[in-house]
Amino acid sequence: MIAEAGLAALWLAAALAALQLALACGLGGEQGKSIRAVRAVAVAQGLITLLAFAALIELFLRSDMSVLLVAENSHSRKPWLYKFAGTWGNHEGSMLLWVTVLAVAGAIVALFERRLDHKTLGASLGAQASLALGFFAFLLIASNPFERLDPAPLDGRGLNPLLQDPGLAFHPPTLYLGYVGLSVAFSLAVGGLIRGNVGPAIARAMRPWVLGAWVLLTLGITAGSYWAYYELGWGGWWFWDPVENASLMPWLAATALLHSVNVLAGRGGLRAWTMMLALVAFSMSMIGTFLVRSGILTSVHSFAVDPLRGTFILALLALYIGAALALFGLRIAHVKEGAPFEIVSREGGLVANNLLLSVILGIVFVGTLYPLVAEALSGEKLSVGPPYFNSVASPLALVLAALMLIAPQLKWRRDAKPILPRLAPGLLVATAVLIGTILLAPGIGILPRFGLMIGAALLPASLLPLVGRSLRRTPLPIWGMALAHFGVAVAILGMASDSAFTQEKLTAARPGDRVEIGPWLVEFRQVLPLAGPNWTALEAELRASRGSGVAVLRPQSRYFVDPPTTTNEAAIDTSWNGQLYAVLGEPSDQGRWQLRLWWKPFVTLIWLGGFLIALGGSLALLGRVFRRRSHGFYRAEASE
């Protein structure tokens, strides 16, 4: 019953999306009446899609095995949290989540966007509806989550223990909210281009969505990186794997867009660039979802590999992105640009920021797809991995970070004051770090050294915009900016430190052996068998001591029976200045055990920084959403 109701809700929502599109197209004539109709239909579409999603959740929670999706991905003995999360732990369920966010986002815009003129709003809601239509079609035709299974099995297939992790419960929804949140920026840009209304109004409508989506993407990617680092046991936190790149590209576009949209909202400049970025950001979300589900790129992370479904998504993608880019090409000539500004100005800094982020985005795009294109053209197989991306993207990212030392302090339009005095604190710190690292750590590479220098310099420099202000009356968005930039500095320091100072020890040890790593003396005590609810394990006991502190680590080699799998549960000890990371390997002959140990100084700064960036963005978002007056904060600043 519920399954059929869910499916019916999906069909109804799809019909409402079609109706919304039709109404929006017919909006050319009357004003007030029709927009109310479009708003109402959009809200209804959002609610009904939400109902469909709720139906699927109910089926999973109740473990209704007569539904194919539940039977294949769930099991009655799973804890309820993982039954709940299992709803989106599969292709069909995650696509339904995608479509639900798309529809609900449209509903929220329809309900709460009151400042935008009605014709532009109508065109944007029409664009959102057409996005929804395509994905509804994909769900209903090629990925029906509510398909029945007859006869229903007694229980499901999905007791896979690897599925039962809190990270899996929260990681996909966070990312999806981010990816699909960018659809609003896309639709608003399309609406603005159709109406020729590309100006501060569109930017102000877009801004909270861009901020919100970006914050969620930042959190999702940060969490994903930490989770992979923690779970996979090789001590790495980013591999430039195609699926990782697919999640990074929308984030890069969204970061550039978020800076650009502020310029358009407050100063009326960068119109073409902002519209292009708005289109590109959600395009990257769609491309990312396609790459990950179609199976055309080999990745450790790819899931739901199905070329047929991949082709469907490719067709949708080509249609939407093609139409949007064609629209851009045709209409952008009619958009009047704002006044030009000098290179040395806040606009100039933001333009440089956009340029660098777009170049990095281009590099990740080219690098990810190059093996495919090269093979198509020449038949040769090649691999493009970390050596390429690290050597090419990291220097550009450092240049961008160096730019952040001064750009937020520049005046709008034209800054004639000398730069050097304002750069001085940052330069001093950088020089001190340079000398310090040359003396204390001469062997580290150039890139990590510059990373340490720039990261350290950016720590105080990011807070400079707050200096000399009445802190209580400083608008939240400025606090947010300072905190986010501070977070960038923290993350860079973590990455550089991990790159420069990580030590690794591999040993075949007998109980009683001691190993030195970094400041630690690690004693391998014993290996004991252990049993859990559905696994058995061998657990090693390691006592690590340094100076005063002692840490006990218990890495495990875990064996599951159903399905037969072995996993390594790494043991991590986190202290103020780094993490000690231990993995238990195979027993070798003569009673020895493979042990892999890492000492990673300050590595947690990477994810702490990511979290601070997201927190800064949230502050800015709060400041925007709850502001009473509608003047841009930049205008207030310009008068200072």
Binding site: S294, I296, L314, I321, F328, G329, A333, V373
Partner: protein
């Protein structure tokens, strides 16, 4: 912004869709072919994998007449399926040597006892060195090497009934 610039992103999209559509229509072949085909067999010497059988060295593979080298292991499941087909090839006059990868003598002996023994020589490759030197990336694989010691052909995966005639043809051409 001139016409080229305005529509440049659209052109990039077309290129992307084209490349991706190509890949969807001709799915990637996951196998990594050896690049040593057409080149001389790299020098190697392997001890005997089983008592009673000689070991294998690269000199044995430049003996004047072509030889087939089967890279296998006792723990390799598809190797069981291809054993009768190797016997058939031997019956049709193909001279077959083998490299046993990551194997113990007793396990190899048992495998040969159970599945038949079409090999003249079997070299033991406990650390996959010879396998890597040949550019082989898994088991089972079968190479055809001509009388001058040049690698002429690589068959990846188990030999299936449909492959026998192709292999015989390659064998004849290597003479």
């Amino acid at each position: 912004m001139n016409r080229l610039t305005r529509f440049l992103p659209l052109f990039i999209l077309f290129a992307f869709v084209g490349a991706v559509a190509w890949r969807l229509s001709s799915p990637a072949d996951e196998k990594i072919q050896s690049k040593m085909i057409g080149r001389a067999v790299p020098a190697f010497t392997l001890a005997s994998a089983v008592p009673g059988k000689p070991g294998l060295s690269s000199k044995d593979l430049a003996s004047g007449s072509p030889r087939m080298v089967n890279v296998f292991a006792s723990w390799c499941v598809p190797c069981i399926a291809e054993a009768p087909l190797l016997a058939e090839l031997k019956a049709r006059g193909v001279a077959i040597d083998a490299i046993a990868v990551r194997d113990r003598p007793e396990d190899v002996a048992q495998f040969l006892a159970e599945r038949g023994d079409p090999f003249m020589r079997i070299g033991a490759d406990p650390e996959s060195r010879a396998q890597l030197a040949l550019g082989s990336s898994g088991v089972p694989e079968t190479f055809i090497i001509d009388g001058k010691g040049v690698i002429r052909y690589q068959h990846m995966g188990p030999i299936e009934p449909g492959d026998v005639s192709a292999l015989i043809k390659q064998w004849e051409e290597a003479r």
